[in-house]
Amino acid sequence: MFSESSGLSLPERREFLRRAGLGFGSLALAGLLHAESSGAPEPAVLDPLAPRAPHFPAKVKSVIWLFMTGGPSQVDTWDYKPELQKRDGQDLAGADPKTGFFTTSGKCLKSPFEWRQYGESGSWVPNIFPHLSQHVDKICFLHSMYLRQNNHAPASIELMCGTNRPGLPAMGAWLTYGLGSQNQDLPSYVVMHDTRPRGDDQIWSAGFLPKTFQALALDARRKEAIDNLARDGGHSDSQQRAQLKLIRKLNEAHAAQRSTQTDLAARINSYELAYRMQMAAPESLDLGQETSATHQLYGLDQPHCATFGRQCLIARRLVERGVRFVQIFAGKGTASDGSVNDVPWDCHSDLETNHRSCALHTDQPAAALLTDLAARGLLDSTLVIWGGEFGRTSDSQGSKGRDHNPNGFTIWMAGPGVRGGLHYGATDDFGYKAVDKKIHVNDLHATLLRLLGLEHTRLTYRFNGRDFRLTDVGGNVLGEILA
């Protein structure tokens, strides 16, 4: 494509850039990594997005995080509590008024759903997940998650960035920084959302890391449109190629006179990357290339799950093309009065209606993703995570709602490196607080980094005089869950 029209073939041009990089020594972009950090593995390359070898052999190449925005209730999804079912309406022992964001009743509220055991693991699943219940033996459940913030934005920031301080990089940015990109034509970190989750960009921020590592955010309401991928009208491909050729020629001449300035070579390269992205990005998002069977599998033919289904299918196409970290913030839940909630799983007033609706939107596509990834062998390299920013109170808010509860909730993972069918850690008998093998976000991150081949204490970046880590000053790898 691009290379054919230029004076140099693509391999030749790569060689030019490579030579430029090596010839210029250890400065500029690579220097940027050197100067500011001590922790990115083997950064001795010109391009900060070039793939880098991890600290250890990695089981996981890509991550898809199905972010259940708003905080699903653990005791109504994956953390079955018979004791809670028995004591509906009774005082919740140890109820702590500081748990939720509002005020709760202190009375147990049982799960309104029917629960059954599935799979060889005998995992309990409520009837709102008819599709995901078929996959429990692939899934490693972490029942003892906790964090410190009890409102959406701060908790989401803590969950994605390790602590609740704004301005820190999110996990996806850390991964790109640490591992580079497996596909130079696509961003390595892609976020999809519908209505924007509370906290907005802060949840997928590159923070103080260079913008090289920032996420590409795709908005479902704009059908995942990417800004500036194409110019409006009156500009043919041949015109653009001629233009790019001239730009490159002039910029190369300019760079040749400034041999100490290696970022100039990267800048020249970036036009080529941009040109390729113009092709690659729309191709990766083109669901027309998928069969109608696949469309149906993900539920694209059904209005209630078409959006999340599309996002999940795009996620599969992206990891297929080497994208490292894809995060889907589940959008839209429907309240009992039919109004649309911009914080989907946030069931303050009516847990049952809310969770039925949210599950209906997400269950089939999430299960389809597992099925599809497995069928394509991608589940051997892709880790799927399901979970939101916190759980819910076991006592009721109002008569049939649940308030925020950061003290105990469930996140699950499926994919390489983790033990399927495992239920790790536990909340108390009411699902109210994590009590056994408690997992803080830092522990989760340390474990995820390990799965991706990174030692969390070695992935550091110096900013304002301090070496920062995704895991802040904490983080223990959950050895027991690793396969």
Partner: protein
């Protein structure tokens, strides 16, 4: 309590440990021996400790490197001394003992493997309540304290006082080792600038030689972007190239320093350091409409070359140094520019309060001192000599700093002048009324007089037309027929100029209305409180629910005749009837002389209400007319729309009814007083009433009336700044708000504090506000942080001129930061700054007139081998334009940059300079973010410059860049007869600040032809091809870089 500070250190290092003494005087082994208790311990407690605790909390564990939390449970002393979280037990008080809390899983959870049986925990509690008898006499190892030695800390280069450093001699050019040296060294050594002498000296030591000078075109472009952030126009380029005088470049620098763009460019650098944004971040990212005043203040401060020490003092304490002053409040916006949660509950309020102070403190540290202070919140600084006490001393200095908004007049002097001018214009208008009254009036009135009898009779209620109306805390607008309407609230508590004087606005509304009448025998008064759609809940009150509470009403009557001797009378009023009141708060409450009770209209709000008063005895009225003053005092806010009426009939409660304006009644009454003759003295009094019927009279009267109602008001923009409030700050164990240790006293970073014996110490005057003291300390070169402050700002200037500071870590001058490449030069520049009165513009000029600044990028191969990083500045390193400047340069190049300054922020589609774009934390400008504008959450000293494909995509495809290319094409070829070659030349000058070489021009022309051929055969193909060429220019590194 001091001991606790040391107990809570986070100790990640392993320095030598000493075996210390047992905790003094606390050994339970001393004193009376509790044999039974010891037996209990041996039977129940010791085995449990050994089984469940020793593996992590014992000397043994320490030897095995398994000690956790610095806690030893294998000796009595260890329990009492405790670990990182404090003592493990409080003898006799199990409920207060951390050990019990941990065993009960209350906040801490021990042992980690699982909770102990309840019975065993009860044993522990019982044992502690008994006094924790414990025969174990093992010593507890002294904690490996890292005693911060402040005195030693002062020896760190950055913390020393500034010292005078003479510049080295200039090198002798004839002795130079390199005859091929560029023009960097003038032949006359005495002309070598001090800066160059430092640099050349260092270069010589390294075996380097300076490169050649940059071309004049490049130099001009460099200077323009560096000082004002915009490219030179072709005309400016030509003028500079023509000016061959040796001072041509100095003249350019002077002009640029005077350009308003200077403040816009350099404010942006400071705003990075100040983590400036206009929203709170977090959950709802609430927008702060008044935050931009800080940004504008910074721009103005740089433009007027406000001495840097004052610039700093204003930001730290402007609100305290000049209370009620717009500038002071705008400057204090610095303190509150950080993120702040929108949703705060009782559960989070205390933590958030400390987070706020931490945010301020980190920003102060990073931006002003180049120090990392934030980590000291939880533990002593690991690298720099900052103990936790210093952190909390700074925090205490900042404790009375609360986020808020204030409405302040940016220019009160101007308002007062305008009001005085307004007042001064009154006599002339009054004179015109007098002249009319004594002139035309008589004849015109006589002509009209017969009409009077044809006019309708007055109704029972006649409405007063006020002579004046004023309110304590609101503006009033005069409507027709005596109605007054609320016209905006004054900010309570603020100093406001009114009537040409400044006064503080009170919180209780007082409305004073003055009216006049010549009618006699007034028997009743009536207040109408009316609704209006402009009012909250339609009114009639201004409270949020439309209610009001009239606490007290007073009506005074006095003679209109200034000669009259009669004293004013306070009318005795009886509540007659209220058309609306809360049942238990009747009208009588407004007349009881008590401010605590009020006529309250809440239940009947959102509807018209009225109150009728009877005079205890009718007001006979004064001979030459009566002036009535109505004083209405409200509990809080006042009325939204109202009027006063009167009646000369008794028993008003028995009739309701219509109101008419008072003018006919007045005319009739005045005529009656003169036996239907126009008495001389009556003419002036009749003017307001007659003006209703006579166009000429209306002209002069209305001119006066309109004038009276149009007193200039102050403009009162909302400024996001500090407001009163705040609470004491406590030293916190590990930064946890639940672990308060003791109240912190305001103070400074002691390593930067050198109190003298001089009395009184200027920094310790207790009477001064702690934040003012902090500000004074910050700029005090002798006793405070002034030396470091000077180094840090000089380094920032240097960095933004050379791409890298003399200290490469501008926000970290501590042990973790880079050491200065030229320590003596930094010292000299900093001293110069202080000696020249902290003036920054002179410093820019000094730097830019150095040879080093004017070097070209040319590479000298021998130098490259020795100093590839250009640490010694032997050539000039190009650097990419900052995000704002890329955008501004595009707008300037397209010729559509709007240079309007200041004001509320704008979205990306604006054509104003980028410093005015909105900075909303959750929705940062896509353009600015793409080109590496930082997250405004922490102080940023240095932006990272990336080359991501999204930048290329933006330049290639965005509608904005396309539009600028079109505008540039039109600018350089305004008509079809302009030769393309000429257009190409001009486009180069506009976009790149130079003319193209002949070969370049030919290549561009060929490109345009090629594009035209590809674009099609229509007439506009070549025009569009020219646009493509212009867009190519924007995609050039040459365009994007300062070279």
């Amino acid at each position: 309590m001091r001991r606790f500070v040391w107990l809570i250190l986070l100790l990640h290092f392993t320095c030598g440990q000493r075996i210390g003494q047992q905790a003094q005087g606390q050994n339970p082994g001393q004193g009376q021996r509790d044999d039974e208790g010891i037996r209990f311990f041996e039977e129940r407690i010791r085995p449990a400790l050994a089984q469940h605790c020793y593996s992590c909390h014992s000397l043994e564990a320490q030897r095995a490197k398994k000690l956790q939390g610095g806690l030893f449970l294998d000796s009595a002393a260890g329990l009492l001394e405790g670990g990182d979280s404090g003592p493990a037990i409080v003898q006799g008080k199990s409920a207060e003992s951390l050990l019990i809390k941990a065993l009960r899983h209350d906040g801490l959870e021990m042992p980690p493997a699982g909770k102990l049986p309840d019975a065993l925990i009860a044993d522990f509690a019982q044992w502690i309540d008994r006094g924790a008898p414990d025969p174990r006499d093992g010593a507890v190892p002294l904690r490996p304290k890292r005693e911060i030695d402040i005195e030693a800390g002062r020896r760190w280069w950055a913390f020393r006082p500034l010292r005078p450093v003479p510049p080295p001699d200039a090198p002798d050019p004839s002795a130079s080792a390199s005859p091929t040296a560029g023009s960097g060294t003038p032949p006359d050594r005495s002309l070598v600038s001090p800066i160059d002498r430092f640099l050349l000296h260092a270069q010589r030591q390294q075996g380097l030689r300076p490169g050649s000078r940059a071309s004049r075109e490049k130099l001009l472009r460099r200077a323009f972007f560096d000082l004002i952030g915009l490219p030179p126009t072709p005309e400016q380029l030509e003028a500079f190239l023509r000016d061959e005088s040796p001072t041509a470049f100095a003249a350019v620098i002077d002009r640029l320093l005077d350009d308003p763009g200077y403040g816009e460019k350099w404010a942006r650098h400071w705003l990075d350091a100040a983590r400036y944004a206009e929203s709170g971040g977090y959950e709802f990212d609430g927008f702060r409409p008044g935050a931009y005043h800080y940004r504008d203040w910074v721009i103005r401060a740089w433009n007027r070359d406000l001495p840097f020490d004052q610039f700093i003092r204003q930001q730290l304490a402007g609100d305290k140094l000049t209370p009620d002053d717009y500038d002071g409040a705008a400057a204090s916006g610095f303190l509150v520019a950080g993120p702040y949660p929108g949703q705060i509950t009782a559960k989070t309020v205390e933590r958030i309060r400390y987070d706020q102070i931490d945010d301020m403190l980190m920003t102060v540290g990073g931006s002003m001192l180049g120090m990392t202070i934030g980590c000291v919140r939880c533990h002593e600084h690991k690298y720099d000599p900052i103990p936790q006490e210093d952190y909390y001393a700074l925090a205490a200095s900042l404790q009375s700093t609360v986020h808020g908004s204030r409405q302040l007049d940016p220019d009160p002097a101007k308002t007062i002048t305008a009001q005085k001018q307004h007042q001064a214009a009154t006599p002339a208008l009054l004179a015109a009324v007098e002249a009319f009254a004594s002139g035309q009036f008589a004849e015109r009135f006589e002509t009209w007089k017969a009409e009077l009898s044809k006019q309708p009779d007055s109704t029972r209620w006649q409405t007063f037309e006020p002579i004046s109306a004023a309110a304590e805390r609101s503006w009033l607008k005069w409507q027709a027929n005596g109605l007054l309407l609320h016209d905006g609230a004054m900010p309570v508590g603020s100093l406001l100029s009114r009537g040409g004087e400044s006064r503080r606005v009170g919180g209780q509304e007082i409305i004073t209305i003055v009216a006049r009448t010549h009618q006699k025998n007034i028997q009743s008064l009536r207040l109408d409180a009316l609704t209006d759609k402009s009012l909250p809940q339609k009114g009639p009150g201004l409270n949020g629910d439309g209610s009001f509470q009239l606490a007290e009403l007073k009506v005074l009557a006095r003679p209109l005749d200034p000669q009259a001797k009669d004293p004013p009378i306070e009318l005795a009023l009886k509540p007659s009837f209220a058309g609306g009141a809360d049942p238990d708060q009747p009208l009588a409450n407004a007349l009881d002389g008590k401010m605590e009770t009020a006529w309250t209209v809440r239940a009947t709000a959102r509807a018209d209400n009225a109150a009728i008063f009877e005079l205890a005895s009718p007001l006979a009225g004064f001979d030459q007319g009566t002036e009535l003053e109505f004083q209405m005092r409200f509990a809080d806010q006042g009325l939204g729309r109202f009027r006063w009426s009167f009646s000369i009939e008794p028993n008003p409660a028995t009739w309701a009814g219509e109101v008419t304006p008072q003018h006919l009644g007045e005319l009739r009454s005045l005529l009656a007083a003169g036996n239907q003759q126009l008495a001389e003295g009556m003419r002036r009094a009749m003017m307001p009433w007659f003006s209703r019927f006579d166009a000429e009279a209306a002209k002069v009267w209305d001119a006066l009336r309109t004038h009276r109602q149009s007193e200039p008001r102050p403009s009162l923009p909302e400024v996001y700044t500090t407001t009163a409030g705040g609470q004491d700050v406590y030293l916190l164990r590990r930064g946890e708000v639940d672990s308060k240790i003791e109240k912190a006293r305001p103070g400074f970073v002691r390593v930067l504090y050198a109190p003298t014996d001089a009395v009184p110490n200027p920094l310790e005057e207790a009477a001064t506000d702690p934040r003012v003291r902090l500000a004074n300390w910050m700029v005090d070169v002798e006793h405070g942080a002034g030396s470091l402050l000077a180094r840090v700002i000089v380094n920032r200037l240097w960095q933004h001129h050379f791409g890298r500071g003399l200290v490469a870590t501008p926000n970290d001058f501590g042990a973790q930061g880079e050491r200065p490449s030229h320590p003596e030069l930094l010292e000299w520049l900093s001293s110069e700054l202080v000696q020249s009165g902290w003036k920054l513009k002179a410093m820019h000029k000094r730097i830019m007139l150095s040879e080093a600044y004017q070097l070209s990028h040319d590479v000298i191969p021998e130098n490259l081998a020795l100093d590839p990083d250009n640490r010694y500045l032997w050539h000039y390193r190009p650097r990419r334009l900052d995000a704002e400047l890329v955008r501004d340069a595009l707008l300037a190049t397209g010729g559509n940059l709007d240079r309007a300054m200041f004001g509320p922020s704008l979205l990306d589609d604006s054509v104003r300079r980028s410093v005015y774009l909105r900075v909303k934390r959750s929705e940062l400008s896509p353009w600015l973010t793409t080109f590496d504008a930082p997250e405004p959450t922490q102080s940023i000293g240095q932006r990272v410059s990336t080359t991501v494909p999204t930048q290329a995509l933006t330049l290639l495809n965005s509608a904005f860049v396309r539009r600028q290319a079109e505008l540039l094409a039109r600018r350089v070829r305004s008509a079809p007869d302009v030769p393309l070659a000429q257009a190409v030349d001009q486009a180069y000058r506009v976009a790149l600040g130079r003319a193209p070489a002949a070969a370049e021009r030919d290549e561009m022309l060929a490109f345009i032809e090629e594009q035209a051929a590809l674009a099609g055969s229509d007439a506009t193909a070549r025009d569009r091809a020219l646009v493509e060429f212009c867009q190519v220019l924007f995609c050039l590194s040459e365009f994007m870089y300062i070279d």
